[in-house]
């Protein structure tokens, strides 16, 4: 009896091991096919994680970029808002986190939120926190800035002549 139980347990274990191995390889092959050809041979939710683990570096651009903010005070004057407390990570990660709404916007079929509403939400949250510290603030404006890269440093070309600046959101 005990021998039969052991044999049965061994069979179940071996079957599970085969299922795990074959399933794992099949999902990765499907993700690899999607990676190379954009053909979806298994449902996307099944391969999404595997595809994400084999996505190459694609952040190279001929420009640097950052999100900046200005507050508008009661008297109409303006003041720069330091966004670094809201993005406490290293500068490149902060820039990518600020850039992500663009990525979501570009593949809006998969987007959990769109570009305009995301930036408006960021502006709304920044305004609430800034107003708590500085009640004279009436509004916050978010700007997207980008400038050419340079071998002389990340900020060297961030000068008015080369800087592109566009308003992306205002709160309230």
């Amino acid at each position: 009896m005990r021998r039969r139980t052991d044999t049965l347990r061994e069979m179940v274990t071996r079957t599970c091991q085969w299922l795990v191995l074959i399933g794992f390889i099949a999902i990765n092959l499907a993700a690899f096919i999607y990676t190379m050809t954009r053909a979806i041979v298994l449902p996307w939710p099944v391969i999404a994680l595997s595809y994400g683990m084999m996505a190459p570096y694609q952040s190279a651009t001929p420009y640097s970029f950052a999100l900046t903010a200005e507050s508008v005070l009661e008297d109409g004057s303006r003041r720069a808002v330091d966004l670094s407390p809201y993005y406490p990570m290293v500068a490149p990660e902060a820039a990518i986190r600020q850039y992500v709404p663009f990525i979501h916007w570009r593949k809006d079929a998969e987007a959990p939120f769109d570009l305009a509403s995301t930036y408006h939400e960021i502006a709304r949250q920044v305004l609430a926190r800034e107003q708590a510290a500085h009640p004279e603030i009436r509004a916050v404006e978010l700007y997207w800035e980008q400038w050419p890269i340079s071998p002389f440093g990340p900020e060297v070309e961030r000068i008015p002549f080369h800087l592109e600046r566009s308003l992306v959101a205002t709160a309230p």
Binding site: R14, Q17, V20, L21, F24, I25, N28, A31, F32, T35, M36, L49, S50, Y51, G52, M53, M54, A55, P56, Y57, Q58, S59, A60, T61, P62, S64, F65, P85, Y86, Y87, P88, M89, V90, A91, P92, E93, A95, I96, R97, V100, P112, F113, T118, E121, I122, Q125, V126, R129, I149, S150, P151, F152, G153, P154
Partner: protein
């Protein structure tokens, strides 16, 4: 070669019960790395994971109410409590005590952090880490060089035989990651010239060393050749790692590659792949290597004797005898 012999060969390769030391080193290496990686965030917890952060969770109003409840912004004290529980799980995983529940819980915490924050910086490695935690939760990572073995046998160097499947899954995943990353570059338009390399080291990720190197103003063809070398390396890597005769060369090239990425672009998180190469070493080979430095026996169970020479204390045996 018959179907039965192929099946037996695969079973021998993927499921055989053997020394779990590669899985133990994977456990300790991955756990230590994650403790360091997440430990660096300790001062950023309120600004990243609490109601003081810019709060843009992944689930929206269309998700099940449970997820909307789950991703509500906690106050900083609660955020630190969650973070502390996560770090505790990672610590238990690292030392190999209650490894399985600790790894599974850590993976669940990872999913939580993905939903509330990491999805805004959706990287390969923040997908790879929780996946590896799940694999390790079903592995034999705590069957050697662990607190569990110390509790069971009274020796850190005791070990229990276990299936090699966990090690194989980790190795396959690392190989698939190199395969997808490397081969996709052959078809991506951005990778068809050296511009991508030049822009990478001068762009937002460039380090002072990278900027210094770019100021040498080398011709564009140098970047073209370097890009080709990177692609050739990543093309061969998923295969070279498996060939015992060549794998040490690929380990070395992988180390150089990831260290260069770390020092030129500040992307150091993939350094974890270097210790993960241990997954490509056969368990018996690694056991023999470890036995040269540590009192580990050939067979499962505790070491037959403790020899102080292993700790630089002399050559006389003090515990047990091996006559």
């Amino acid at each position: 070669m018959t179907l039965i012999s192929v099946r037996a060969g695969i079973e021998q390769w993927a499921f055989r019960r053997t020394a779990p030391h590669p899985q133990a080193l994977l456990r300790a290496g991955l756990g230590a790395f994650l403790l360091f990686y997440w430990g660096l965030k300790v001062l950023q917890v309120p600004a990243l994971f609490s109601d003081r952060a810019l709060w843009l969770p992944w689930p929206d109003a269309t998700w099940h109410p449970f997820f909307q409840w789950l991703v509500r912004a906690p106050d900083p004290a609660v955020a630190y409590g969650i973070y502390g529980a996560f770090m505790l799980c990672l610590a238990l995983f690292t030392i190999g005590v209650w490894m399985r529940p600790a790894a599974l819980l850590a993976a669940l915490f990872y999913v939580y952090y993905w939903l509330i924050s990491l999805h805004l910086f959706p990287t390969s490695y923040d997908r790879l880490f929780p996946f590896l935690l799940v694999v390790m939760a079903f592995s034999a990572g705590d069957r050697a060089l662990s607190v569990r073995m110390w509790w069971k046998y009274g020796s850190w160097f005791a070990w229990d035989e276990a299936s090699v499947l966990g090690q194989r899954i980790v190795a396959l995943q690392v190989a698939f990651t190199y395969l997808g990353v490397g081969w996709q570059k052959m078809v991506l338009p951005a990778w068809q010239s050296g511009d991508v390399l030049a822009q990478s080291v001068m762009g937002i990720w460039g380090t002072p060393l990278a900027f210094w190197l770019t100021r040498w103003n080398v011709p564009a063809w140098v970047y073209d050749r370097l890009t080709f070398m990177v692609m050739a390396f990543e093309f061969a890597m998923p295969f070279g790692l498996w060939i015992p005769r060549w794998q040490w060369l690929f380990f070395a090239m992988g180390m150089v590659f990831h260290v260069l990425i770390a020092v030129l672009m500040g992307i150091w998180w993939f350094l974890v792949l270097i210790p993960a190469y241990v997954a490509f070493i056969e368990p018996e080979t690694l056991l023999a290597m470890l036995q040269r430095a540590l009192p580990i026996s050939d067979s499962p169970g505790p070491p037959p004797s403790f020899s102080p020479r292993h700790f630089g204390l002399g050559r006389h045996r003090t515990v047990g005898t091996a006559q």
